[in-house]
Symmetry: C2
Subunit: 343 residues, 2 copies
C-alpha cells in the first residue's frame, strides 16, 4: 500500500512531515510513502535523514502550497498544483491508497470532496476527531465541517463514525451516543429530539443521550453532534487540558517537585491520536493539526494504513448503500461564504 503525505502542511514543513514519515516507515514494512510538495526542499530534508528505507519513499513535486488562512474552496480551485490537490489526485488516479495532510482543514476537506467525491448515498461527508476520556477515547462526529445539520445527516455521521470505530479502532458493535442536555429522549433541541428517534431505530448500538458531564467518563465510542457544538467542544477541551497542564507545570516548577506531568497528561495529548479522518468520501483522507510534531504525523500515517488495510471505504460503501434514505445531494457542502471568496 502507498500513503501520499502532504509535505507542506505543518507550521514547520517539510522537515516535520519528513521526520514523521521516516518514523512511520520504521514502524512497519507493508507500505510506502509518497511525499508531495516542494521537490528540492523535500530532497534536501531527506538527505539529512539516516537509516530509513529509502526504497519505500517517493517524491512527487507540487509547485504550489495552500496557506492556513486562505479561503479553502477558492484556494483549491486556484491552485491545481498545490500539494493538497496533487496528493489527492494520486489517490484518485490509483497511485496512492490514502492521503494525509496537516494543511488547512478546510482546503483538505474541499479538495477531498472535489477530487475523491462523496460516496453514493452520502449526504455530507463528516470530519471525525478524537476526544480523550478517563476510559477509552471517543470519536466525535461532526467536529466542525457541517453546521445547521438535519437529523438524517446526524444519523449518517453516526453510521460513518461507527464504521471507523469498528475498522480503525477495532471496537466491535461500537456504542453510539447523542450529545444532548438531558438523559431523557424528549430532552434537547429539535435536532436532538428528532435524531434520538432516528438513532433508536437505526440498528446501531445506540446508548442514548450523552450529557456534557458524561463525555469524560467515556460512556460511548462514537459521540454524535452537529458540527457547531462539536467544534466548540473540541477546541474548548484542547485549550482546557493545555491550560491545566501549563498551570500545573508552573506550580510544580515553583515547588521543585511532583509527578511526571507529561506522563499524566499523555491521555489528553492529541498528538497521540493520529489525525482526524474525513468520512464519507471515496478514499482515505486524514487531516492533522498544523502544529503536529513528527510522531503525530507518524500516528496519522498509522491510522491511514489501518483504514486501507481494513477496507474501510468499501465497508462504508456497503453500509451506506443500505441506507433506506439515500440523498446524495451534497447541497451546501463544502460551504464558503461569498465574503471570503473575494478575500
Amino acid at each position: 500500500m502507498r500513503i501520499a503525505l502532504d509535505a507542506m502542511g505543518t507550521d514547520r514543513h517539510p522537515g516535520v512531515e519528513i521526520r514523521g514519515a521516516v518514523r512511520a516507515l520504521r514502524q512497519g514494512a507493508d507500505f510506502q510513502v509518497t511525499l508531495v510538495g516542494d521537490g528540492p526542499r523535500i530532497q534536501a530534508e531527506l538527505a539529512r535523514c539516516e537509516g530509513y528505507p529509502a526504497d519505500r519513499v517517493e517524491v512527487v513535486h507540487a509547485s504550489e502550497t495552500i496557506g492556513p488562512a486562505e479561503p479553502a474552496v477558492t484556494a483549491v480551485r486556484r491552485k491545481p498544483d498545490s500539494s493538497i490537490v496533487v496528493g489527492l489526485r494520486l489517490q484518485r488516479d490509483g497511485k496512492a491508497d490514502a492521503f494525509v495532510s496537516a494543511g488547512s482543514t478546510g482546503a483538505v476537506m474541499a479538495a477531498s470532496l472535489f477530487i475523491l467525491r462523496a460516496l453514493p448515498g452520502v449526504d455530507r461527508p463528516t470530519v471525525a476527531t478524537v476526544l480523550p476520556t478517563a476510559a477509552a477515547p471517543v470519536l466525535l462526529v461532526d467536529a466542525g465541517a457541517n453546521v445547521d445539520c438535519k437529523p438524517s445527516q446526524l444519523l449518517q455521521f453516526a453510521k460513518l463514525g461507527a464504521i471507523y470505530a469498528e475498522d480503525v479502532w477495532r471496537r466491535s458493535t461500537p456504542r453510539v451516543g447523542l450529545l444532548n442536555i438531558g438523559e431523557e429522549p424528549e430532552k434537547g433541541n429539535e435536532l436532538a429530539v428528532e435524531t434520538h428517534g432516528l438513532l433508536r431505530e437505526s440498528g446501531l448500538n445506540f446508548v442514548g443521550n450523552v450529557e456534557g458531564r458524561d463525555i469524560i467518563r467515556g460512556v460511548c465510542d462514537v459521540l454524535v453532534a452537529d458540527g457547531f457544538v462539536g467544534n466548540v467542544l473540541l477546541k474548548f477541551y484542547e485549550s482546557v487540558t493545555g491550560f491545566m497542564h501549563g498551570m500545573l507545570r508552573t506550580r510544580l516548577e515553583e515547588a521543585g517537585t511532583g509527578p511526571d506531568l507529561d506522563d499524566l497528561f499523555r491521555p489528553f495529548d492529541w498528538t497521540e491520536y493520529g489525525g482526524a479522518p474525513l468520512l464519507g468520501v471515496d478514499g482515505v483522507s486524514i487531516v492533522c493539526h498544523g502544529g503536529s510534531p513528527p510522531h503525530a504525523i507518524a500516528n496519522a500515517i498509522g491510522v491511514a494504513r489501518q483504514a486501507v488495510a481494513t477496507k474501510m471505504v468499501g465497508h462504508i460503501r456497503r453500509e451506506v448503500a443500505q441506507d433506506p434514505n439515500p440523498r446524495g445531494t451534497r447541497d451546501g457542502w463544502p460551504r464558503e461564504p461569498a465574503r471570503s471568496e473575494g478575500g
Copy 2:
C-alpha cells in the same frame, strides 16, 4: 433588605442551607434572611447554631418540597405550598427582595416565571452561569434554559448578561463575545451569523466571535450562546476540571508530595461563584447546585444582595424598555414535553 432562602433545596437540606445562611449573616449586617421550608426541621437546625444574629432570621413554613427529578412545570402547579413557590410569593408580595434556592433548576425557573413574571419586553428569561477562566470569570448566557433560540433572543441574553456583569460583578462596559467556531463574522451556523450582525449594531461592547479555545483565556465578560451549546459546555467544563483535580490528587497521593491542589483548583470551583441568576424576570432569583456546601449558599446570598443593592431589576427594566424590538411573547418558555408531564 430581606433574602428569602429555600431551606429544602440541597441534597442535605435543611442543614446546609441554614449553615449557609448563618455564614452569610455573619458577613454583612444590612440584610435579613427568611428561611422557607419545613418549619419544625428548620427550627431544630437553627437551635444547633450558635453566635448568629437570630433577630435577623425569620422562618416561613412550607409544607411541600419539589424533588430534583419531578417534572418542573407540573410540580410547580401541583405543589402551591412548596418551598420554591412559597419563597417566590414572598418576593412577589413585597415580603422579600430576592430568592435563593438549590432546588430543581427547572422548577425554580418555572415558578419564577409564573410568580415573578417576565419583565415587559423580555422574550425569554435566561439562566446565566459562571465559567471560570485563567483571567476573570466569564458569564455564560444561556446556560441551558433556552434551546432553539432566535438571533433576537441571543441579543437579549447579551443585554441581560451585560447588565448583570455591570451591576453584580462591577465591570463597567462589559465585553460581550459570541460563542462561535471561527473568528470572522461570516463563520458559524445561521444563528451565529445573524446574531453577530445584531450584536455589532447593538451598542453593547461587542468584542466579536469567541471560539472554544478562547474561553479559557477570559477574552470577554459575557459569553452569548444558545442554551443547548451553553449547557453542553458548562457541564463538560465542570466534569473535566473535576476529573483533572481527582486524577491529580490520586497521583500526588501516590507520590506523597506536590502542590496544594485545592488551592490550585480553587479558581475552577463553582462553589465560589454564588449560583446562577435567572435574568429577565421581575425580581431576583438565584439557582444553586443541589450539591452546594454552606459557603456556596452564602455566596449565592451575597450575589442576591448585590443584585438588590444595585437595583439590577430596575436597570434591566430600563434597558429592555429601550429595546427597539420588544416581543414579550414568552412562547415556548418554560417548555416541558408532554411525556414528562404524565410522569
